[in-house]
C-alpha cells in the first residue's frame, strides 16, 4: 500500500511517499502564489524519485495552513493531528511535540498512540515563528542560513523585544547603533524565540521527552537556545521539516486500509 502525505505550509509544500511504514521519497516546492501548483510539483518530484506514477497511490492526505488548496486530496488531517501522529511514530517515548514553522508555532501534548491531549498555538503573530528570524536577519543584514552559525559564536546575548517582530526590529537596529557584535545580536534573536516557545511548552506541563519539528528545527542557533532554555532532552528527527507530511501519509495509510475493509 502506497500513500502520499502533503504538508501545504505558508512557505513551502512538502510531500512524502510512504509504503508500508517506510518512506520511499520526499519532494518540496515553494508555496508562492499558487500552493496547488506547488503541491503538484512537490508530489511530482517525490514520485519521480521513487519511480512511481500518480495511479500507484492508494490515498492522498493533505495537511498544513493551505490544505484546502491541495490537489488530488482524498482527505485532510489537522496540522496538530499530523504532528502528534508522526512525532510518536518517529520517537515512541515522545509526549510533547514542538512544531516551529515559517508563520506558526505550536506545542502539542499527546499520549502513547499519538492522540492529542492538549495544545498551545502561536498563530497570527510573527514573533515565535520562522518569520521572526527572517525579519531579524534582514535587519542585521545577514543571510538567514548564516544566523545559526553566527549565534553559536556569541559568548553572551543582548536582550531584545521578543514579543513583536516590528519592535524586535527596532531593538536590533539600536543594538547595531550601540555597536553590539552581530553574533551576540543573532544569539539574542534565538534566545528571544526560545523564550516564547519554552513558555508555550511550560503551559502544557513539562514532559521529559520532547520532539522538535518544523523548518526552524534545522536551525542550529535556535536549537542551541531552546536546549539552554528548556533543559530537557530535545530530540530532532532526521528531516524535521517533513514530519507533518509524514503524519499525513501515516493517516492516509490507516484510512486506505479502512476503505478496503
Amino acid at each position: 500500500m502506497i500513500t502520499v502525505g502533503m504538508d501545504l505550509g505558508t512557505q513551502r509544500v512538502k510531500a512524502i511517499i510512504l509504503k508500508d511504514g517506510e518512506v520511499l521519497s520526499r519532494g518540496q516546492a515553494f508555496s508562492g502564489f499558487d500552493p496547488t501548483k506547488a503541491a503538484e510539483q512537490a508530489i511530482d518530484d517525490a514520485l519521480k524519485k521513487a519511480d512511481l506514477k500518480l495511479s500507484d497511490i492508494s490515498y492522498f492526505a493533505a495537511t498544513g495552513s493551505n490544505m484546502d488548496m491541495a490537489p488530488y486530496a482524498n482527505g485532510t488531517v489537522s496540522m496538530m493531528g499530523a504532528d502528534a501522529k508522526a512525532g510518536v511514530f518517529l520517537c515512541p517515548k515522545a509526549r510533547t511535540i514542538i512544531d516551529v514553522g515559517a508563520e506558526e508555532a505550536r506545542a502539542i501534548k499527546c499520549d502513547e498512540k499519538g492522540i492529542i491531549v492538549d495544545f498551545v498555538v502561536n498563530e497570527r503573530c510573527a514573533a515565535g515563528a520562522g518569520a521572526f528570524i527572517e525579519a531579524m536577519a534582514r535587519a542585521l543584514e545577514v543571510k538567514l542560513e548564516d544566523m545559526g552559525p553566527l549565534a553559536l559564536k556569541a559568548e553572551r546575548a543582548s536582550p531584545i523585544n521578543a514579543s513583536c517582530v516590528i519592535f524586535g526590529e527596532s531593538d536590533v537596529v539600536s543594538l547595531i547603533h550601540r555597536q553590539e557584535s552581530k553574533p551576540e545580536i543573532a544569539r539574542a534573536v534565538f534566545d528571544a524565540m526560545a523564550d516564547r516557545i519554552s513558555s508555550m511548552v511550560h503551559r502544557l506541563g513539562v514532559n521529559p521527552e520532547v520532539v522538535l519539528i518544523g523548518g526552524v528545527a534545522k536551525d542550529e542557533g535556535f536549537v542551541a537556545s531552546l536546549n539552554r532554555k528548556l533543559d530537557l532532552n530535545v530530540v530532532i528527527p532526521e528531516y524535521p521539516d517533513y514530519v507533518s507530511a509524514l503524519g499525513a501519509a501515516l493517516t492516509a495509510a490507516t484510512r486506505a486500509k479502512e476503505r478496503l475493509k
Binding site: 518569520a131 525579519a135 535587519a139 513583536c164 516590528i166 537596529v173 539600536s174
Partner: protein, 303 residues
C-alpha cells in the same frame, strides 16, 4: 527593512511632522515657577514647559536610537523662541518608555501617571477614562477628578494598533500618515475587520487583498476597524466610565477614534484644536510630567 524605508523607494509616507509651539500672549518673569516634562516615547519624544502650572511651550521630535539625545533634542525644541535657558527650569520630570534615560530630569515618573494628569489638565475634571495610544503601547487608564490613576491596563507588546504599526501601514499603502484616518473613512460600507492583526503579516495579507481588487481605502478601513476593536476591548476590560478621551499620537487618527466611539457607543470629549492654538493630546504625557514637576518642586520647598 521595515524600520527606515530608504528614500530611493520614494516618499516616506510614515514620516510625521516634528514641530514646536510657544503659546501666544504668555510671558514669563524670573518670579514665575517654570517647570518641564520630558516624555521620551518609543517613536516620539515630547517636551513641555509650564509657567506656574500653565502650558507655555512644547516640542515634538522623533525618538532616535539614543534616548538621552532624544530627550535633550525635545527639550531644546520646547525652549526654542521662548528666551528661556535650561537653567531657568526649576524642576524637570522625565517620563515615557525611555524615562530612565532623561539625563536632565530631577525625577522619573511612569507615563501612566503623567498621561492621567495631562488628560485632566487638557480636558478638565470630568475625564474618567483615558486611552493612550503611543508608538509602542496601548493603555487604558481610569482616573479620578484630580487626574490620579485609579487603575489601568496595557496591551501586550505587539505593534498591532500602535503608532509604529500605523507607520508601517502608511508606508505599505503609500498614504501619508496624517491622512490615514480620513482615508480609512472613505468607504461606502465598513468592511469586516481583518482577522490577522500582526503587522509583520499585514504586509503579505494587505497585498493579497489589494490583488483581490480591494481599494486602498477598504484595506485601510478593515485594518483600522480591527485595531479599534482591540482598543475598545481594552477599554471595556478596564471598565469604561465617561468622560472618555484619547491621548498619544494616535488621538489624531480620526479613523481610529470614530470607530472606537461607534463600537463603544460613547462620544469622546472633542479633541482640542491643536493645529490652531489648542493643546496637543500627543503632549499630554509631557504636560502631566511638567505639572507633577511643579507639585514636586513646591513640596521640596516646603520641606
Amino acid at each position: 527593512m521595515i524600520n527606515e524605508p530608504s528614500t530611493a523607494k520614494g516618499p516616506e509616507y510614515w514620516r510625521w511632522k516634528e514641530y514646536h509651539r510657544v503659546m501666544p500672549n504668555k510671558k514669563w518673569t524670573n518670579k514665575d515657577l517654570i517647570t518641564a516634562g520630558v516624555d521620551v516615547g518609543s517613536v516620539g519624544s515630547k517636551a513641555a514647559i509650564m509657567i506656574n502650572g500653565e502650558a507655555y511651550s512644547w516640542g515634538i521630535t522623533r525618538t532616535g536610537s539614543n534616548s538621552p539625545e532624544s530627550a535633550t533634542k525635545a527639550l531644546n525644541y520646547a525652549l526654542e523662541d521662548t528666551g528661556l535657558k535650561s537653567s531657568d527650569l526649576k524642576y524637570i520630570v522625565g517620563t515615557g518608555y525611555g524615562r530612565v534615560n532623561v539625563p536632565m530630569a530631577n525625577k522619573a515618573i511612569t507615563e501612566i501617571a503623567c498621561h492621567a494628569k495631562g488628560a485632566n489638565y487638557i480636558w478638565g475634571p470630568s475625564v474618567r477614562t483615558v486611552l493612550d495610544v503611543g508608538g509602542q503601547d496601548i493603555k487604558a487608564i481610569r482616573i479620578d477628578e484630580t487626574g490620579r490613576v485609579v487603575s489601568f491596563l496595557m496591551n501586550d507588546k505587539c505593534a498591532a494598533g500602535t503608532g509604529r504599526g500605523m507607520e508601517v501601514f502608511a508606508d505599505l499603502l503609500q498614504i501619508p500618515i496624517e491622512e490615514i484616518g480620513d482615508i480609512s473613512l472613505k468607504v461606502e460600507k465598513e468592511p469586516e475587520p481583518v482577522s490577522c492583526t500582526c503587522v509583520a503579516f499585514a504586509k503579505t495579507e494587505a497585498m493579497g487583498l489589494l490583488r483581490k481588487g480591494w481599494s486602498r481605502e477598504k484595506v485601510l478601513a478593515a485594518y483600522t476597524r480591527a485595531m479599534a476593536v482591540r482598543m475598545a476591548n481594552l477599554i471595556n476590560r478596564v471598565g469604561l466610565e465617561r468622560e472618555l478621551v484619547v491621548t498619544g499620537g494616535q488621538s489624531k487618527n480620526i479613523g481610529i477614534v470614530s470607530r472606537i466611539e461607534f463600537i463603544l457607543g460613547v462620544k469622546c470629549l472633542p479633541m482640542p484644536k491643536w493645529r490652531e492654538d489648542g493643546l496637543d493630546p500627543m503632549v499630554a504625557g509631557a504636560l502631566g510630567a511638567a505639572l507633577l514637576a511643579k507639585a514636586l518642586y513646591e513640596k521640596a520647598q516646603k520641606a
